[in-house]
Symmetry: C2
Subunit: 261 residues, 2 copies
């Protein structure tokens, strides 16, 4: 045993007011507690009051989620000039809500990096402003947009990104477009990345291989697959304002894997 | 020699209307031409018209520049829980302009990742809105802000990030705060990263070891050091609108090194 030791490492650097039913830890053993959706929402609202607007969050989430996706698709080995004729295909399934807008932002960054993106977004007469503005930018990539499941590929894609769910409206799940999209995803056999999935009481309509949670994890069900966490740029004192003692668990990364503690 | 070959690789995938005096290439040999500041400005304006606002650009530039900085500071080896008592120190020198705002955004993300950030920003009665909003967020990290060179460290820091220059106003260089900050940087002996440096006719007041250019490089002088390029999320068709034929040179990355061709 080594007698010369540095200061003891504190592994519990994040303390939340009402610890959720689940705890995670990082590769280096830092504890990351889950929080309730209500607290998560208050944290995002507090950040917005200081200017970390939804628009900024959409951009940052899009960048970090696309970085994770590019790694999942094969990273530097797959994305070389010599491979340009083998562009990977990603099906992006989005509902008409903020989670959908996050997905479209991710889709733009993927399409910018020569990924073949097919965006499914159901037809609605009026969309949220945040969805419309992401869509305007996405269309400029030349990425494909469809509103009917029939126009999604019959053959397996390389990856499905699931942004069908939102945190507040579970009625969505009963809508025909939602059911059709979920069924398509389950039949396609491509691995699924869920972006910002909700805590689901009823289980997940689409089982994910990976899930990416934002800033602090919700207590996710098993169907969420392997959980990753995304830094969305909230300063420490904003965490404090909603009662969370926070030190970044991210090290030099912006997306890290979490493990059930 | 290998007879079985794939399609020939096209290395000149970016074609600009008036090629600048300099050409760069990526690690994999793709040619990246430089463009004039005027064309760069038109490109950003076109992107803004489609909703890629200054605010979004600030967030994305901040994230990507901080990712590059975290790598320069030592990456995963430096940022482990066991190293928390050895936090690296970064001096961030910002002028009162958009380039300064980009720097402050980068500073927030660095401070969020447990880097000790000391922001120098000269005192002005009225600041640009974009600078004020970045500042509001930065202050919440607990990062330090000073307006006098006297309050910057006497001893070498780990890295200096230079955001003193803007592209349009070279008169800045004659102001006392600018000269004092440049002199401090040159005396500190820490390596310098220049963020979005201008094409400088008069040479650089602060010599950089690295420079990070945004979206397409300007023809930078020798004093800019090793040039890196940052993806800021502009879709291909926006490039087309200002006459640039564009395919991403970034592969799966958001920041890549460039070499003089």
């Amino acid at each position: 045993e080594n007698i010369l030791e540095g200061k003891p490492v504190v592994y519990r650097q994040i303390v939340v007011p009402q610890p959720g039913p689940k705890e995670y830890c990082t590769d280096s053993g830092l504890v990351v507690p889950s929080i309730s959706y209500e607290l998560h929402k208050r944290l995002l609202s507090a950040a917005e009051r200081y200017g970390l607007t939804l628009e900024r969050r959409l951009e940052m989430t899009g960048v970090c989620a696309s970085q994770m996706t590019l790694t999942l698709l094969g990273g530097p080995n797959r994305f070389t000039p010599k491979n340009l004729h083998q562009r990977p295909t990603v099906a992006l399934l989005c509902g008409p809500h903020v989670q959908g807008a996050q997905g479209i932002s991710c889709g733009r960054h993927l399409a910018n990096h020569e990924v073949e993106v097919i965006l499914f977004l159901p037809n609605f007469v009026k969309l949220l402003d945040s969805v419309t503005s992401e869509l305007t930018l996405f269309i400029k990539t030349g990425g494909k947009q469809v509103s009917s499941i029939k126009d999604l590929p019959d053959t397996p894609v390389d990856l499905i990104i699931n942004c069908l769910d939102c945190h507040e409206n579970t009625f969505l799940m009963d809508q025909p477009w939602y059911r059709a999209a979920a069924e398509w995803a389950n039949q396609n056999r491509a691995p699924v990345l869920s972006l910002d999935p909700p805590v689901s009481g009823q289980g997940h309509a689409v089982e994910a291989k990976w899930s990416l949670s934002l800033c602090l994890p919700l207590p996710l069900a098993e169907g969420a697959g392997r959980v990753y966490l995304c830094d969305i740029g909230i300063p420490r004192q904003v965490f404090q304002e909603v009662g969370i003692k926070y030190h970044s668990p991210f090290g030099c990364k912006f997306v890290i894997p979490l493990h059930s503690a």
